[in-house]
Symmetry: C2
Subunit: 313 residues, 2 copies
């Protein structure tokens, strides 16, 4: 638990910037490495300390993550925690050869999505978590292993997902050695009742150990779902600057929940995030300039914070 709570303190709300990974997954205009560094530095200056930087995948097929090895030391030098996806054995090997702080494994809530997304059964995906945890333990015990459960609130291939199944997978991932688990509304099917209910059960499972909620705003429920998650024990929320990260099935759709709006939400609920909204404007200007034509969203950015004092609880 010590390595975990050093990075994700119990009780405190942590916002993870996933725009450099999830936000670039489908981007048309890719930012240069230099722009990514500047964007990262600007967010660190605004108080953000947790970044998902990319995915350990072959650069030939995933040019958006080709500079991951350069971003990891840049993130560490800036004093922030870095994470990156490790979707197979090679990804784990690559991660262990870097200073990345967190290996992010993905497990699907449904067999169909697991096969379609990773060409692996759910059991094999959990075995990969076990492998990541064992290798890490042996070779880099300071790193975290994160297991994210995709399609946890419904699956575009299989339809409904039983919360019992998600809980069982989360328990299996923790038993396999994951330090932290997350649940993702990958296709934006959930409303706040479903999110609150699953988070309450996950909170009971994890005890004082923080867990992650990863939301997409596909149907406008993103902020409401984040509120329900925070009310039911989630203490780590993924989001991306400007809601970067469209969905291939919904042109113009926002991707992840908007980082700036989640800062506003968290602060309005009384959770000090340590993040400066004005500072995020500077980061956004860099990202927007580096990704012309990409959809940047978010109401707080457009309207600015309220003029009253009490909005920050």
């Amino acid at each position: 638990m010590n390595r975990l709570t050093r990075i994700y303190p119990e009780g405190r709300v942590t916002l993870r910037e996933v725009g450099l990974r999830d936000g670039l997954q489908l981007a048309k205009a890719l930012p240069s490495t230099e722009a990514k560094r500047a964007w990262l530095a600007a967010e660190v200056a605004a108080g953000v300390r947790h970044f998902e930087l990319g995915s350990f995948l072959p650069a030939a097929h995933f040019p958006q993550f080709a500079d991951l090895d350069e971003l990891i030391p840049a993130c560490a030098a800036a004093g922030a925690h870095s994470a990156a996806l490790t979707l197979n054995e090679r990804g784990i090997e690559s991660a262990l050869a870097t200073d990345v702080g967190e290996l992010v494994c993905v497990v699907s809530a449904t067999e169909a999505h697991s096969e379609a997304n990773m060409r692996r059964s759910r059991a094999a995906a959990v075995a990969l978590v076990a492998r990541a945890a064992a290798e890490r333990e042996a070779r880099a015990p300071g790193k975290l292993v994160n297991a994210g459960i995709a399609m946890a609130f419904g699956c575009s291939l299989s339809g409904d997902v039983a919360q019992d199944d998600v809980l069982a997978l989360a328990e299996a991932c923790l038993a396999a050695g994951a330090d932290i688990v997350g649940v993702a509304d990958t296709v934006g099917y959930a409303g706040p009742a479903a999110v609150g209910a699953l988070c309450a059960r996950l909170s009971a499972l994890c005890g004082p150990r923080p867990f992650i909620i990863h939301l997409h705003d596909t149907r406008g429920m993103g902020v409401a779902n984040a509120a329900a998650a925070l009310e039911n024990g989630a203490r780590v929320v993924d989001a991306s600057l400007g809601g970067l990260g469209g969905c291939p099935f919904a042109p113009g759709a926002t991707g992840n929940v908007v980082f700036e709006d989640i800062v506003f939400l968290a602060e309005s609920l009384g959770h000090a995030t340590g993040i400066d909204l004005e500072g995020l404007r500077a980061a956004r200007a860099i990202a927007e300039a580096a990704m012309p034509g990409e959809g940047f969203h978010g109401a707080l950015h457009r309207a600015g914070p309220p003029a009253n004092a009490a909005w920050r609880a």
Copy 2:
């Protein structure tokens, strides 16, 4: 209470379409009367039964509401309940001469906004509610009187607003004879904690009597705030098709919370709205065609409902 619960049944969630009033307040392209009728009819066909149709104001200065007298019988003929703003004595007189089902009076939570918006003190605004209620009682006892409290969560002129003041105003409006009160986050300052807290207190004040929550999505909290309101006793939610109704201070900003998204939210929370999302698409097509260049928003409309079954709780 009988006339009230006939229109706003206790316990059941009612969504009020305010787009034909609040959505046109600042619109650039005004729909024709024919288009408004078609829009209204399409929403009635989709299951919407509550409409705010306009404001009783001089047509010379408010051309967007010049056809209010034609829309009221059209709404009644379609089998739906009509409401319209009565912001002064003349407005009350005009309303009583029509078949409108509900007179909507506005009271500001702060003295500064009351004077700026209505050239009337808060006490005078409450006195106007009393006059509307008394005239109604004498001349048209079937109509409802609604008192909406603007700037209930913070004021762009005065800053913070004490919930005690809002509660006192709500109590004064009910004592003055209003059937139903509402609280409005006119400038989108609130987060869900503030909305939940005020609604819980309003719920205690109103008892079984329904009350209204009126939200603007200025800072992206609209849906989260609606969720908090529904969880804390609000049973009537204002919204506008496509989030019509921009803010003069925030170009491109959505106005009211998006009707379609609120239907999704309410259904996902287990409240049957009786409203068909597919039917709303037809209504939206009419409104969009009638108001070229106007900003129509909403994620549910873009993405469509989820493909799983369990999203509707």
